[in-house]
Symmetry: C2
Subunit: 579 residues, 2 copies
């Protein structure tokens, strides 16, 4: 059993993650979050909110998951979000055509459908199932399609990303922020990708959750005012250059160094790479299994200026992408401007108004009128478009309706005037940190899960961080007797009233109950025994060290809260017991 299987078996047995629709045979790429998985997911999302909504001050919005066609025409998903397929002419099985030639062509993504088909034919590739002939290649769009209302008059698509919701709401968001850049908007919610035949378990889902921030900035200034807060942070970067260079390796460096050496394009992008790192650390990823990899030119979207993926190392799957932090330039807003015929630019005032010389041309209409009659207006317009050199000639030539017309210099005057310009119209650039919540959740489980031998038995521990753990405290009467269960239930109620997630458990031996709680990550277990009845103290046990202290019942809520907030060392939580 490899680590993935072990983690999934635990996740399944204890109610973190379940394959969906199992009662009806299941469907690849769909999972349920169970009674422990759903709160873990929600807490990861809340932690993300703490970073991006509370600390960064971005607003959160919630848009429909179904979208109309125009959005995905503009975003390019309708034409470009597809995989090349081939079908067996004998058995009808469908395959990703590029996957069938992977052993022959290193980067099959770059090939057209026809080119892939040629490779298939030239290399005698047949159906892996029945050895039948394979069909021509066709593109399969990965958006789930549906129809809005009866008939097929209006197509609807399940969104492939939450980001478009922020882009199409840009005018309203701009108004909400009183027309000032920069600002950010975020969304946490479901997105969909109709994978051909997902085979990587919880890593490749057809329905998944994203947390995305779209930060709209002035392209003339990509510095970040709070860069100094993160500049000394050290993280492992795997730059494009290091990836391309023979023997190049990921390197540890500070954020400041990365910007100074132009490894990361600019401060703002680097700032969000740093915040992403801090978020993943607080969520409970293992530092030495995390790196930031820069997109190579050939994998980066054509419009992106720079893009860094946070990648985690998983035992079965190797390095997988959890987060992408990209400078998407003005691509998204310009695409929607073109598709919607709406101006999405922002008037950005200069720090100081600028004075600028401007040529003002004044055709003498009183004189032009009688001479050119119904052409006089066209002649005047033509004069206005001339530059100063043309106007300074004695006889001025303009072309009107394909005819050259000569005009005496007395028929037009002109002057240079100074005008004040207060700012300019700008299409903002977008910085996008985009998080895959499900992959982060699985990685948190895999990175926190370990086994050790204790008393000749295997102890499985989920070393979840207190911020994301579904059960924060277990309350365990030593035996299931009324005189112990009553005070234990009372303690449970008191802790719940303080907002602590408590699990009361009275069934099975105390050792077994400790193990059960270790396995789901419960950081602290409280045991109520006969001594509790005498002196109002309980035993608190620490998940990681298995150390125990004796603490007073009355202070218990404060003690537990302080432990969970990591404001109190476990040894200080009570009188240490010898194990």
């Amino acid at each position: 059993m490899d680590k993935y299987e072990k983690v999934i078996a635990l996740a399944r047995r204890r109610g973190f993650i379940w394959p969906a629709f199992e009662l009806y045979g299941g469907a690849a790429g769909f999972y349920d979050y169970g009674p422990l998985g759903a709160p873990l997911k929600r807490k990861i999302e809340d932690l993300w909110r703490e970073f991006f909504v509370i600390k960064e001050g971005f607003c959160e919005i919630e848009c429909p998951t179904i979208g109309v066609e125009d959005i995905y025409v503009a975003s390019g998903h309708l034409s470009g979000f597809s995989d090349p397929l081939t079908e067996c002419k004998e058995c009808g099985e469908i395959y990703r055509a590029d996957h069938l030639i992977k052993h022959i062509i290193e980067v099959p993504d770059a090939l057209s459908g026809e080119e892939i088909y040629t490779v298939i034919q030239e290399n005698d590739i047949f159906c892996p199932e029945c050895s039948g002939d394979l069909s021509q290649i066709y593109e399969f769009n990965l958006m789930f399609k549906t129809a809005i209302g009866p008939g097929s008059r209006q197509a609807g698509y399940l969104r492939p990303e939450t980001a478009q919701g922020m882009f199409i709401n840009f005018p309203r968001l701009l108004r909400y922020y009183r027309d000032r850049l920069p600002f950010g908007a975020v969304q946490i919610g479901k997105s969909y990708r109709n994978e051909i035949s997902p085979r990587q378990g919880v890593i490749r889902l057809r329905e998944f959750s994203q947390a995305e921030a779209e930060i709209f900035i002035n392209p003339r200034d990509k510095s970040h005012p709070r860069f100094d807060e993160v500049e000394d942070l050290k993280l492992i970067l795997y730059s494009e250059e290091d990836q391309e260079r023979e023997g190049g390796q990921p390197r540890e460096m500070t954020i400041k160094e990365a910007v100074d050496k132009r490894i990361i394009a600019h401060q703002t992008l680097a700032y969000y790479v740093a915040r992403t790192y801090q978020f993943l650390m607080e969520a409970g990823l293992s530092r030495d299994r995390l790196r930031f990899r820069q997109h190579k030119k050939d994998e980066m979207a054509h419009y992106a200026a720079d893009c860094w993926d946070a990648e985690a190392s998983l035992e079965r799957f190797g390095w997988i992408e959890l987060v992408g932090v990209a400078d998407r330039t003005d691509y998204d807003l310009r695409s929607h401007m073109a598709q919607s015929q709406t101006n999405l630019s922002v008037f950005v005032p200069f720090d100081k108004p600028r004075r600028q010389e401007k040529l003002v041309v004044k055709p003498d209409m009183k004189k032009l009128g009688p001479i050119f009659r119904n052409k006089a207006k066209a002649v005047a317009e033509a004069l206005k478009s001339l530059d100063i050199e043309e106007l300074e000639k004695e006889t001025i030539s303009v072309v009107v309706d394909g005819e050259t017309v000569e005009i005496g210099s007395d028929l037009v005057s002109f002057e240079m005037v100074e005008e004040t310009i207060r700012g300019e119209e700008i299409v903002p650039h977008v910085i996008e940190p985009s998080f895959g919540i499900d992959r982060i959740l699985y990685t948190v489980l895999e990175h926190s899960c370990y086994e050790e031998m204790v008393d000749e038995e295997t102890r499985t521990v989920l070393k979840l961080r207190p911020k994301v753990v579904p059960i924060q405290v277990a309350v365990l009467p030593l035996m299931d007797r009324d005189e112990l269960m009553a005070p234990a239930e009372e303690i449970t109620d008191v802790l719940k009233a303080r907002g602590i997630y408590v699990e009361y458990d009275s069934s099975g031996s105390i050792g077994r109950r400790y193990r059960r709680n270790d396995e789901v990550g419960t950081p602290y277990s409280i045991t109520v025994d006969y001594k509790t009845l005498e002196d109002k103290t309980v035993t608190i046990r620490d998940r990681d060290t298995m150390a125990q202290v004796r603490a007073g019942v009355d202070e218990l809520p404060d003690t537990i809260l302080a432990l969970l907030r990591e404001e109190l060392e476990f040894g200080e939580a009570g009188v240490p017991l010898r194990s």
Copy 2:
């Protein structure tokens, strides 16, 4: 402008609710929640969690929004979740056929398609748009359909309710709760309903959010252990009998009275009606615009034992359903048992094991064998199915393969034995409180919104409850001068660090800023002025009364938190100022 228009105009202007996809012309039945709407929605959901997850102790799960076909075969949505349509043969416009005959037939839901068509023909009903002929009636299924994977091999449906996720996960949930009833599971998430042409704004959505609890109980005991906590609660009930009776009106009564008089079917249903009432009150609904209406026989699902809707009164739409609380009996689990061929019953132990007499028949195979040869086994089986009177006869007759066989009483012995029965297999009943979050959110806005004249100007107030309000405090420097803005920003940071949702606002006159905050429901505004610089005090203003007190900066976070938790009267928050 009616109240709906007023509320929607405010909601739109201030970023609560926006019609979706407006950049591309919009689509009926889809809305965005903006920067203030999304947190309001999230807080309503969190309040719901507080009631049903924390206090009731139900677990929360999260299932995919796309489901496979079998689920909706079992649930009945594939065959029964549809509206009758007719199409104009001239212009192609599509209509709800039952709506076209509403003025002729009072309850058109009860008619078949053919019957509706007959009514249309007999009453000379034509296309309301172009007076063209209308087509035969066809049923349009209201589930959004899509395809999972390439081709149309596997159909997928966007779930019409979250409930099915709990039903199909019943075996796992039962295991999670260690095979013991009762238990509950909840889900908060998106559901979908492909309305023909939704015309009621935010009241009828194609994509909406539900919060549903499915509580699995032993049908032999529908009492509730915590009934006493709610039995004295008084609420307005509109029973089926009062609806049917000439002049019958909704009546106020206690929950206990409703159960004692068998108006509400049983304690458990009544308990959740009461909790629903409490939740809606805390969310901020107006008590006198809320009632609980019992489903009439002809509107209740055929399988339901009893069902009560929480209905709110809205100025434009009248009484609309926000919540349904139903006893769904064992319908859901039995449907999935049949469709999946899986046993979904629960072994429920008796309080005390029961002793029961049982007849044990022992055919003497040694004697039967030689006599009946290859028929001996069938004869023995036939003997085992006899009752005691047959066995006591001297010659026993059994029919084997259509042939009567006579057997001497010496060939078979029997005895009555006592056996212990520890319990029975039961298919649980389901109690379902099902909440429509979007409608609740809109009702909260409409019920909290009022206007009053203050200083000859209209003051618009959103009297949101502190638990759900998006902005809890506004911090306002009296003027936008550095010496006032610096301490105001500092106060903002301190309050944020304590987890308070703060909005800093320095633009516009102080009066205008107060009004802006009244309009979005900010309960308290803090003003920083020159006196603040001298004595470290600020003015706190109360949204509802517009009263002001002067309070110390150092105690501000505690003061504000106490006010928000309603532990402190506003008058006690500082030294009252004369207005």
